[in-house]
């Protein structure tokens, strides 16, 4: 049918681009149901497909990757202190290095390095220790004095007369940033092409259980039978675990970030400071991207308090006087699931066929391919992959915590 309406000037838009994945309808049952269509759920789907497991659904209560995946500041690094963390984060970084090829999709991964500033003698000692630990784990790491810091990032204020003078920094050259949306879309596209159903607008509201097994998930679009359940719900994990009656040491907090207006390229790397409490990079388009720590109280509202932003800006201007005249363009928040030792919780639950992946808190974007890979292997073989075995729920009973507060403090 043709219409004779005259098109108003400016209304002749290009065709909407083809969708990158199928927007699937729920089937009656699947071998694997992944709850949560953020980065981790989608990456898990992709690596399950690579293992030949494609009778899989990713169920997402909102739109694809509209949670923390859409809200994070995309810092990727692996310079954590402990061997357990080095294992999973470095595995992820190696996968990032080949991910564009694997997905056949651009993700704008830019390895521009990260400086973690030290401002006190204790900071210096902790940082040097972390550099040595990183080297022992085969992770690129260097200790830089203030002059060397200024060479890597000329706009950092390394003068001695500021409140917290820069005493040096650790540097991981292979760290970087990527385009978070493209990463999610790349994983979704490959998973969907392999036959996996991505079901948006489908909230899990309960579970059908039979003894120590879950036989189905109740959703706003009907019940879906399942062989195995893989939980990837990040900040909402407690809500799901409460439905199963499984306690976990998680607290959901607002985590905010902000961007400036677009600027000329001024900032060549990533700078983080735990003591002054801010981190900054410059995105590909030119906006300065900044973040800091969580808002102190529990909250699921995807918004935080403005005084947190104000403090973050004060810290940024102290370290980067050149930012004083930049304008804040917008700020936003996600809901992050924080654990007592700042390490994730991954592995078994009291239900035989339910596996848990949560607790990445403020820093799980960098882990996306690594955890997707290890979690898929875990689901496929019905036991925790060695890389994630140290991160089980049982560590809070055995006391074998993986305390990464030092390396993870100012969020990521």
């Amino acid at each position: 049918m043709t219409t004779a309406h005259a098109t108003p000037p400016g209304a002749a838009l290009p065709e909407h681009p083809d969708a990158l994945w199928r927007d699937a309808e729920p089937q009656r049952s699947y071998d694997v149901v992944i709850v949560g269509g953020g980065g981790h759920g989608l990456a898990t789907a992709h690596y399950l497909a690579k293992l030949g497991i494609t009778d899989v659904a990713v169920v997402e209560k909102g739109w694809l990757a509209g949670g923390n995946m859409a809200r994070n500041t995309t810092l990727i690094r692996s310079n954590y202190l402990w061997d357990e963390s080095a294992g999973i984060y470095e595995h992820a970084l190696r996968l990032w290095e080949g991910l564009e090829e694997d997905l056949g999709y651009p993700i704008l991964f830019s390895q521009r390095g990260v400086l973690n500033l030290a401002h006190t003698e204790q900071d210096v000692r902790d940082s040097v220790r972390r550099v040595e630990a990183n080297k022992l784990n085969g992770i690129d790491a260097e200790w830089l004095d203030p002059d060397e810091v200024a060479k890597v990032c000329p706009i950092v204020n390394v003068s001695a007369d500021i409140r917290y003078p820069v005493q040096g920094a650790t540097f991981q050259p292979r760290a970087g940033i990527a385009k978070h949306d493209y990463v999610a879309w790349g994983f979704a596209r490959r998973a969907s092409d392999a036959g996996i159903d991505i079901i948006q607008d489908c909230e899990v509201t309960g579970f059908v259980t039979d003894g120590d097994r879950v036989t189905g998930v109740r959703t706003t679009r009907g019940d879906i039978g399942c062989g195995t359940v893989a939980l990837c719900a990040a900040g909402h994990t407690s809500v799901l675990l409460d439905m199963l009656g499984v306690p976990a040491p998680l607290q959901s907090h607002p985590l905010q970030a902000l961007v400036s207006e677009l600027l000329e390229p001024v900032h060549p790397t990533i700078v983080m400071s735990n003591a002054v409490h801010v981190y900054v990079s410059q995105a590909h388009k030119g906006e300065l991207v900044m973040g800091a720590g969580v808002d102190s109280y529990n909250g699921y509202a995807q918004r935080g308090a403005f005084h947190i932003i104000e403090r973050q800006m004060a810290a940024a201007v102290e370290l980067f006087p050149v930012f004083a005249r930049a304008h804040l363009l917008r700020s936003w928040a996600g809901v992050v699931d924080v654990t007592p030792d700042a390490s994730p919780i991954v592995g078994r639950t009291p239900y035989d066929n339910v596996f848990l992946n949560c607790g990445w808190g403020t820093g799980g974007f960098k882990a996306t391919p690594g955890i997707g890979w290890a979690f898929a292997d875990t689901v496929a073989h019905g036991r925790p992959h060695p890389l994630i075995a140290p991160f089980g729920l049982d560590r809070f009973v055995t006391g074998a915590l993986v305390d990464e507060h030092g390396a993870a403090a100012v969020a990521h």
């Binding site: 407690s238 409460d242 998680l250 959901s252 607002p254 102190s296 308090a305 809070f396 009973v397």
Partner: protein, 91 residues
């Protein structure tokens, strides 16, 4: 920034307060009798509801007293505040 109604000082700006997490977590009556599992629960596990939550707050830049509040974690809005013992603040 929201105003928080300190039971002693009245409404004050949020940044005067510090957060103390879940309220009514009692120290174990018989600490020596606890299993590792029970200790883990006491030390590390706290409720994390999406909805009303009874929690401790301290007016640290004001009267420096602790109190109990019920706050809705979906909206961050305070539902009620009461003094520390505050059984009236239990949801």
């Amino acid at each position: 920034m929201q105003l928080i109604a300190c039971p002693w000082c009245g409404p004050r700006e949020e940044l005067e307060f510090s957060y103390g997490g879940q309220a009514h977590v009692a120290y174990p009556a018989d600490p020596a009798g606890l299993t590792d599992e029970q200790w883990a629960r006491y030390v590390f596990f706290r409720d994390n509801p999406k909805g009303p939550f009874a929690e401790r707050w301290a007016h640290s830049a004001g009267c420096r007293r602790w109190f109990t509040a019920v706050r809705d974690t979906r909206t961050h809005q305070f539902v009620s505040v009461g003094p520390l013992a505050g059984s009236e603040a239990t949801p």
